[in-house]
């Protein structure tokens, strides 16, 4: 069964259906979008069930000639990491549609257009993780920017068009650097064994270490902008601060993961030597991201920007885990990617509801919400706890694994990174205290609590956070063989813990 093409095709069908619906019938557009995303989720679950866990090769491989004279194929296939990320994306999509039921009303364009953009984006989110042809990956990587650009600029708030442009320019510049590297790979493949973009074949390329380093940088900077890693992060707070909550969830939860996913799939596979060369530098950037993101988050007055900065800190952890080059670090990073999507989704969605009720996104405008809207307040508190990686909630497992994995090889980095956890408590608990506790700020007395739709939308997120917090092993069982395989292919063995030395 062609699972992956089916998955990529379904949202497009949904988008086509939505596009022929009458413009006035907004409800029908929403329903069609919701049904489509649920259908995609069901297909993804079906695919996950037939995924062979122990098989480290790419699965569900499909390959169709696209532009044969350039050696370009429409080639898809997934390993466990891609599977987990696709699962994450398709779970988030219906939640975003349901949670943001009324999000599109403040936009420049019709509600219909909003859902068409979301569905087209879903196709690309699946495709970007599934692509095994570098050209196809690049095409989707770049093309994805367009729907997001219109989602931010058309349906966001505040300085939305400036934020959308900043987002697009940053990403395009990164993309062009990657294009330069891809062209070099393409030409070299032509010299060595015939033009190809197949990732497995490209990983066999012979190249000098200088070339490898330069090409690595082309890819890495593109991914570091996407992820974002300090100092390439400045677009994110603006974009996330202006985008509608649903768009922000997709932006931070899924699109930014393309960056970290790309580091694993492309940087490490194509340029193993260069990855090792740059590891010390990247680890430093990662640690800076962790602390910098956390410090700036503490200082934020705007709730959406706060969440954006926390994410920069979280992406620092993910990058740290990837480049620590240990199996625990890698497994932790992948798990972190999955869990970060849900804790950020919870934060953004609840924050979005708070903001739309209050009409302001400044933290100090809230206060005493716990008394007025207890369900909303507690959900936000819960989302915050998940974001600061409280033991028992899912993000803790990923963060713990990343730190353990890093510590075995780079103890100093791990110790410094651990301060990020302390800061996390600050950046979450301070706004929680300001917004939820204390006397009710005047003007907030009549805020409404979450309605049934919102509760239904947030419930699966809460459930995932709790269940995977206590019982992460189903996910880890899928991830572990893949990460072990990557680490061993890079020629690393996990350092043996050596406590007895002391």
């Amino acid at each position: 069964m062609n699972w992956l093409t089916l998955l990529m095709f379904l949202p497009l069908v949904g988008a086509a259906v939505v596009s022929v619906l009458p413009k006035a019938n907004e409800k029908a557009a929403k329903q069609a979008a919701f049904i489509t995303t649920i259908a995609v989720l069901l297909v993804t679950i079906g695919m996950t069930l037939s995924f062979e866990r122990e098989n480290v090769e790419l699965q569900f491989v499909e390959k169709y000639a696209w532009i044969p004279s350039f050696g370009i194929n429409f080639a898809v296939g997934i390993d466990a990491i891609a599977l987990v990320l696709i699962l994450m994306s398709t779970v988030l999509a219906p939640i975003v549609v349901l949670a943001g039921w009324n999000e599109a009303h403040g936009g420049r364009w019709s509600v219909k257009t909003f859902y068409i953009l979301i569905l087209v984006l879903e196709t690309m989110m699946i495709g970007v993780f599934a692509a095994t042809d570098v050209f196809l990956f690049y095409v989707i990587f770049e093309a994805m920017l367009i729907p997001v650009y219109f989602l931010i600029g058309g349906y966001g708030t505040g300085e939305r068009s400036a934020a959308a442009v900043k987002f697009l320019i940053y990403s395009l510049v990164g993309g062009l650097l990657m294009l330069a590297s891809i062209i070099a790979l393409y030409v070299m493949s032509g010299d060595q064994f015939g033009h190809t973009f197949d990732i497995n074949e490209l990983s066999q390329l012979q190249m000098s270490s200088t070339t490898q380093n330069l090409l690595f940088l082309g890819f890495f900077i593109a991914f570091a902008i996407k992820a974002p890693v300090w100092p390439f992060h400045t677009w994110l707070p603006d974009a996330a601060g202006s985008a509608s909550p649903g768009t922000s969830v997709l932006l931070l939860g899924v699109l930014d993961k393309v960056g970290t996913f790309g580091m694993i799939r492309y940087c490490l596979t194509l340029f193993p030597e260069a990855s090792k060369t740059f590891t010390p530098l990247i680890l430093i950037l990662a640690v800076i991201s962790i602390l910098y993101g956390a410090f700036l988050a503490i200082g934020q007055k705007d709730i959406k920007r706060l969440i954006a900065y926390t994410s920069i800190s979280h992406f620092g952890f993910i990058t740290l885990g990837i480049f620590a080059m240990t199996t625990q670090g890698h497994s932790g990073a992948v798990l972190y990617m999955f869990n970060h999507a849900f804790s950020t989704a919870a934060l953004f969605l609840v924050a979005g509801w708070m903001i739309s009720r209050r009409g302001s996104s400044t933290i100090s405008d809230f206060g005493g919400l716990q008394r007025v809207t207890p369900v909303m307040a507690w959900t936000f508190f819960f989302a915050g706890l998940s974001s600061l990686a409280l033991p028992g909630l899912s993000s803790f497992v990923g963060e713990f694994l990343v730190l353990v994995g890093t510590f075995t090889r780079y103890p100093v980095h791990a110790v410094i990174a651990t301060f990020g956890i302390v800061l996390a408590a600050l950046y979450i608990l301070i706004p929680v205290q300001k917004a939820l506790h204390g006397p009710t700020t005047p003007g907030n007395e009549n805020l409404k609590d979450l309605n049934l739709r919102e509760k239904v939308a947030i419930a699966p997120v809460v459930a995932i956070i709790v269940v995977l917090g206590f019982y992460p092993s189903p996910l880890l069982k899928i991830i572990n063989p893949a990460t072990t395989n990557i680490i061993s292919q890079l020629g690393f063995t996990d350092p043996v813990p050596s406590i007895e030395d002391k």
Binding site: W66, I67, S69, W109, E142, G154, S161, A164, A184
Partner: protein, 505 residues
């Protein structure tokens, strides 16, 4: 002295002959058909002639001959591809030219004169533009297939002279239009003079005017190299002027802005194909063995063309001027394909020319739609909020801009990818990096226009969007469709090009 009668192979020459014949009939139509019927007769004639010529080009694909006209014309794969591209672009452009609203009622009348007012009141439509277009197209068809310097020069003049006239035909802002025509004419004549000067030196170098003879001398290396270098330099100036490469670009913004927009569309797209077609033939065959004499200079020109085009475009406030600078930047990208001097460079340049030409016609077609009571509105500030007033115009224009910027899933991306990889393959790594850097710069101003159209609130100044006529609408839809298809599934075209594109010499 005996007279040898020329042997012509009419089949291979038929596209050009059909065009010339059509143009002459067009002139007769001007003389003998009543005023009221002229527009429709001329349009039918022009479309018919262009389609017939395209059909003939299709029929002679795969043919190769050095002597269809005693060595003055060379028909081979690239010739067919370029002629086909020019014809397809011209057919779409003619659909825009058919909207005579853009042209002055009486070109001979002084701007603002009583005569002109009377002509406007009578509702006269200018129809000379059709035969002029056909003459220009026949020159363009001949330009890339010329086999000697004289034919090349004749073709150059044949495509230029009608364009000089057409640039001055604008109905609105006639003075600016005439100024642009004069500027184009003067600078064009100047560059023609350079061209002829170069041709003379090349004759002095090789003792021959046809490409075969010059090429033989270049390979033999027996001649005086100074003559060759001067010849190449001056000939190149003539050609670089036509494609608008820096530092021979200064006419482009004024002419693009002043000329009636349909003419700009035609000129920007088709001239570029013709001129780059001729450059490809000359650099890939005649001067190929003197690569080290011209390649460094051309590389420098490509670099400044790309950078200056992209940089200056950022500061433009007028949509036509912005597109003019963007076309200058694209000329730089195309030059990287010429410099590559390999098979993939040839394929890529031909693909890029076709893709870019179509997108350009489409973009200018949208420009013709945005108007207020006094004609077209080209001030970008007044394009604000266009997305709200006309989603069709704004979204197609945005799509064309994304294609110019080279975003994946548009023809522009495939073009850029193939032309940059060809340049990289030839070892011009630095050039590719500059090209990629200027693409990033260029993306900035394309996106700025999209922001204006979609994310800015409309100003209340009566800028409206014309309901497109059926012809204009089909031109826009056709260009958008081709741009999309070439971006999503370019395989048939790429294979077609790479099968055919080999110079026979």
């Amino acid at each position: 002295m005996t007279f040898t009668s020329p042997v012509l192979s009419y089949t291979l020459l038929s596209p050009m002959l059909i065009l010339l014949g059509g143009a002459l009939i067009g002139v007769l139509v001007e003389a003998f058909v009543s005023k009221a019927k002229r527009p429709i007769v001329q349009l039918t004639l022009a479309l018919g002639v262009l389609t017939l010529a395209l059909f003939q080009v299709w029929n002679i694909r795969g043919e190769q001959s050095l002597t269809p006209a005693m060595g003055s014309i060379i028909i081979d794969g690239p010739a067919v591809l370029l002629q086909g591209s020019i014809l397809i672009i011209s057919i779409i452009a003619i659909l825009l030219i058919a909207d005579t609203e853009h042209f002055t009622a009486l070109p001979a009348a002084l701007p603002g004169s009583e005569e002109e007012r009377r002509a406007i009141a009578m509702g006269t439509q200018v129809t000379e533009v059709y035969p002029l277009t056909l003459f220009a197209v026949s020159g363009m068809l001949m330009f890339p297939v010329a086999g000697d310097l004289i034919t090349l020069f004749v073709a150059l003049e044949m495509l230029s002279l009608p364009l000089y006239l057409m640039a001055g035909l604008s109905r609105r802002r006639r003075l600016a239009s005439q100024e642009s025509a004069l500027k184009y004419f003067l600078l064009g004549s100047f560059s023609s003079a350079f061209f002829l000067f170069g041709a003379a030196y090349l004759y002095g170098y090789s003792g021959s005017l046809d490409f075969a003879g010059i090429q033989a001398s270049v390979i033999g290396g027996s001649g005086n190299d100074v003559l060759l270098l001067i010849g190449i330099a001056f000939l190149s100036i003539g050609l670089l002027f036509k494609v608008g490469a820096v530092p021979f670009h200064s006419w482009a913004p004024d002419v693009y802005q002043g000329a009636p927009t349909p003419v700009t569309a035609f000129m920007a797209a088709a001239t570029k194909v013709a001129a780059f077609g001729a450059m490809l033939r000359i650099y890939y065959t005649v001067f190929a063995n003197a690569q080290w004499s011209w390649s460094p200079v051309l590389t420098a020109i490509a670099v400044i063309t790309m950078l200056l085009g992209s940089l200056v475009a950022v500061t433009q406030r007028d949509v036509k001027r912005m597109l003019a600078y963007s076309s200058i930047a694209h000329a730089g990208f195309l030059l990287t394909g010429v410099i590559a001097l390999n098979k993939s460079g040839l394929d890529a340049t031909i693909f890029y020319l076709f893709a870019y030409g179509i997108t350009t016609v489409g973009a200018f077609a949208v420009v013709t739609l945005v108007r207020d009571s006094s004609g077209e509105v080209t001030d970008l500030n007044r394009w604000k909020g266009l997305g709200k007033r006309s989603p069709f115009a704004a979204s197609t224009f945005a799509f064309f801009l994304l294609a110019f910027a080279g975003i994946p899933l548009t023809s522009g991306f495939i073009g850029k990818f193939s032309i940059f990889s060809a340049a990289y393959e030839s070892g011009a790594t630095g050039l590719v990096l500059v090209a990629i850097f200027s693409s990033a710069l260029a993306a900035f101003f394309y996106i700025r226009v999209i922001v204006l159209m979609f994310f800015s609130d409309a100003s209340e100044d009566g800028t409206g969007v014309e309901i497109p006529s059926i012809l204009t609408r089909s031109a826009i839809v056709a260009s958008a469709a081709i741009t999309l298809i070439l971006g999503v599934y370019p395989t048939p075209i790429i294979d077609f090009i790479s099968d055919l594109a080999t110079f026979i010499r």
